[in-house]
Amino acid sequence: MKDRLQNWLPRLVVAPSFLLVLLFVYGFILYTAYLSMTNSRMLPSSEWVGFANYTKLFKLRSWDTALKNLAIFGILYIVICSALGLFLAILLDQKIRAEGVIRPIYLYPMALSFIVTGTAWKWFLDPGIGIENTMHAWGWESFHFDWIKNRSFAIYTVVMAAVWQSSGFVMAMFLAGLRGVDNEIIKAAQIDGASGFRIYRRIIIPLMRPVFLSAFVVLAHLAIKAYDLVIALTGGGPGRATELPATFMYSYTFTRNQMGIGASSAIIMLIMIFSIIIPYVYSETKNGENR
């Protein structure tokens, strides 16, 4: 009797988590998928409309804006964070004396809430009191920087704040990668007379491929989820200029009472994330087993 209990205990222990996650994650995904095929407005409805919400969604101009903004934001965010992260990691890997002081400073923004980051940058970039005003006070009268109020450029201010927040983290990932490079390879190259710059370009940076991949996955998934930062920095504005899928979903579902369309936009977000995460997790776990 006792033995049988001991046999079942492990399953009993994971069962509650398993059931909770099954309901709160997978059950909820199915329910949202179901809602996306109904004509739910303010409240969930059971009237089936098939893929009509999706057709409507892709005809909406604000969804179009959200996707275009996500493309701009996502690409710049990923490229700049990776480039800056790698660059800083390489510099920090040159036997820097104060590394112990510099590294934590590069990384601390990751501990902050996006709302805090958004608030700081919102006023820092504000033409009235921020950087423009400061430059004028310092005597550079013609300095002009109003991107945060400018429909065509506001999305780039979101990139600036997001890069500030995440690039230090990418730096830490690359630094860990650089520290794992086998010294023998580098020594051999040095004996062959390769210069420092060439060693980096030809040997070390190509070795960083797995880190580039991890950084890409992390940053891409953060970009698709990006919500708080936009809310705090621009509120999605001016007008609709910094709308992203996440802000679109929230406003259509909760303030514009178009729950069916909101649900279909959430499903599109899920598809985007899963198409990045699932292959990655699959290959990572497979590699782990082979090792």
Binding site: P10, R11, V14, S17, F18, L20, V21, F24, V25, G27, F28, I29, Y31, T32, L91, L92, D93, Q94, I96, I102, P104, I105, Y106, Y108, P109, M110, A111, L112, S113, F114, I115, V116, T119, A120, W123, I131, N133, T134, W164, G168, A172, A176, L178, R179, N183, K187, G196, V217, V218, I224, Y227, I231, A232, Y250, M259, S265, M269, L270, E284, G288
Partner: protein, 293 residues
């Protein structure tokens, strides 16, 4: 972290070294600048910000913005300051962190040391749940909280943070326990140790670092959460991030930048404190969360 890698360094002359240090210091300034702006301007009277220079040190130092942000600023209807919301965040985050850490530790134990059929499926589902965009669960979660009668309450938010924290906690503990020698556990079983004795006497005493990593990760994520707070909190359960955003973005009339900056620092203090005290573990959590299943 050091020692082995020393040979990566480009052996350059003094000029290159000077250049490297210059660039590194430039970026130190870049990362510190927003924090500097927040601190400096939270200590100025309002007219100094409006008429003056965001970079300048205060001429008349003042703690009034901090007092206002903490206990007098108008947030929503009441001029309560951020104090009650700060307390709300703690009331939500502390139980949720404890719960998801304990459950994650148990799951990690079971998934690595008691192989049973379907364990891989359970883990795959838990792992994938870490990465979903939470927009996908907002509508049904709001309904469930309503059905349970805990919509807009602290309890409701604890439940939500706990449930969506299980995945990462399990991931952390599973990866940690996977490296723990299974022979030790087998030996204990032969000696007659029960399931829970093995956990409390053998695994837990050796789990110090991973407990710290998990607690820090969960605390930082849950404290910084905005989406769940904005969606599911009510009148007296609003967390700090949502209150800060209300303070900054919906204030009618005069924009009190200095109070906003003080409020932003208040909202950042707990996670910054954790980072300063245990940065090493914070980074380990980030890395573990970023890579590997």
């Amino acid at each position: 972290m050091s020692g082995v890698s020393q040979d990566n360094a480009v052996t350059g002359n003094r000029l290159t070294r000077a250049l490297i240090y210059t660039v590194l210091i430039f970026f130190v300034i870049y990362y510190l600048l927003p924090l500097y702006v927040m601190v400096v301007n939270s200590l100025k009277p309002l007219d100094e910000i409006r008429g003056g220079n965001l970079m300048a040190l205060p001429q008349n130092w003042s703690l009034q913005p901090w007092r206002d942000a903490w206990s007098a600023a108008q947030i929503g209807v009441e001029p309560t300051g951020l104090k009650p919301y700060f307390a709300n965040s703690f009331k939500i985050v502390v139980p949720a962190v404890i719960l998801s850490t304990i459950v994650g530790a148990l799951n990690g134990y079971v998934l690595t040391k008691c192989r049973f059929r379907g364990a891989n499926v359970v883990f795959a589902l838990l792992l994938l749940s870490c990465f979903i965009p939470f927009q996908i669960v907002l509508i049904p979660a709001a309904r469930i909280l309503g059905l349970l009668g805990i919509a807009g309450t602290i309890k409701g938010l604890i439940l939500i943070h706990f449930v969506y924290g299980i995945g990462f906690s399990t991931l952390f503990f599973r990866n940690y326990y996977a490296a723990f020698p299974t022979e030790l556990i087998g030996a204990a079983q032969i000696d007659g140790a029960t399931f829970f004795q093995i956990f409390t006497r053998i695994l837990l005493p050796n789990s110090g670092p991973i407990i710290v990593v998990t607690v820090i990760w969960q605390f930082t994520n849950q404290w910084n959460d905005f989406l769940f707070g904005a969606s599911f909190s009510g009148f007296d359960s609003t967390p700090m991030t949502v209150a800060l955003n209300n303070l900054v973005n919906s204030s009618t009339g005069v924009k009190e930048y200095n109070v906003h900056f003080a409020g932003a620092i208040l909202a950042a203090l707990p996670t910054l404190f954790v980072y300063v005290v245990s940065g090493r573990y914070f980074v380990r959590g980030l890395m573990a969360g970023a890579v590997k299943g």
